[in-house]
Amino acid sequence: MNDATPTSITHIDLQAEYRASGVADILDELDRELIGLQPVKQRIREIAALLIVERARKILASLLIHRRFI
């Protein structure tokens, strides 16, 4: 996503976003350093996924609106 100019974006690679944001590192660290808490870790992963999708939706939605006006 970083290589493209903002108005040319039509797709967002969620996995690439996940890695680039550094969230993957935080979640991996959680798995490594915290013993147990499997259901909690799973919920945190789900919330992180939702936040990444929400962010991608916002970006694409704002570009869609932008393109309608140019």
């Binding site: 959680l30 919920r43 945190i44 990444i52």
Partner: protein, 233 residues
């Protein structure tokens, strides 16, 4: 968000990580965590609560506000309590400042349920509820080894067995607080180890002696002699 569970189950630790995640994804500007309890938000006299709560919110803006034992904000039995004042400010700021402040309410599961029932305004604003289970005995034993390793200590072979018995016994006694109880137990074990070395050493000590928690350092705990006194975790 709300994090429910018994003390020492990792709620604050996970709140810190959550703040980090939210920051990395651009939902909050700074990503810091401000951890408070009732006393940080509510004043004792008329006119004190609003400035106190607003000051905390100002500090938390751009990050995560973690309110531990959040149900103490509300004391419906006391008409002159200022908790409701703080709750109303919190709700107002959460509504107006959604882009740059995340509030996590934490506490015991059953009390948080009651709190949400008597404060429906809060319930509807919290989409994510995470319940933190108690740790199993084996998990607490692994946690104790990790905690010691981080401080450059380790258990002697027989000390690990005594620690396992300690965990089993401690769980049955008052004010058990999961990983926090383990941390406190290890702090006391380190004190006993230091005293033991001080008293028994006849000459210079090698690294192994300094790094090892012996079985007797754990076994001397009050947990094995009729239980710990009240108000100790």
């Amino acid at each position: 968000m709300s994090f429910t569970g018994n003390p020492g189950t990792g709620k604050t630790t996970l709140a810190l990580r959550m703040a980090n995640i939210l920051h990395r994804l651009g939902y909050i500007r700074k990503g810091h965590l401000v951890s408070v309890t009732r006393d940080d938000l509510i004043g004792q006299y008329i006119g004190h609560t609003t400035p106190k709560t607003k000051e905390v919110l100002k500090r938390a803006t751009g990050g995560v506000l973690f309110i531990d034992e959040a149900y103490y904000l509300s004391r419906p039995d006391n008409e002159r309590d200022y908790g409701q004042e703080a709750i109303e400010i919190l709700l107002q700021v959460m509504e107006n400042n959604r882009e740059d402040l995340v509030v996590i309410l934490a506490g015991y599961s059953d009390r948080m349920d009651q709190f949400f029932t008597s404060n429906p305004g809060f319930r509807s604003r919290f989409a994510h509820h995470i319940d933190f289970p108690d740790y199993a005995n084996e998990e607490l034993l692994s946690i104790s080894e990790n905690m010691l390793a981080r401080q450059n200590y380790h258990f002697a072979a027989d000390a690990k067995t005594v620690m396992a018995s300690y965990i089993e016994a401690r769980r049955q006694q008052p004010h058990f607080a999961n990983a926090r109880s383990i941390r406190n137990a290890l702090d006391r074990a380190r004190l006993r180890q230091a005293n033991r070395l001080f008293i028994s050493a006849k000459g210079p000590l090698d690294a192994e002696a300094l790094l090892t928690i012996a079985a007797e350092d754990i076994a001397a705990s009050r947990v094995f002699s009729g239980g710990i006194e009240q108000k100790k975790a």
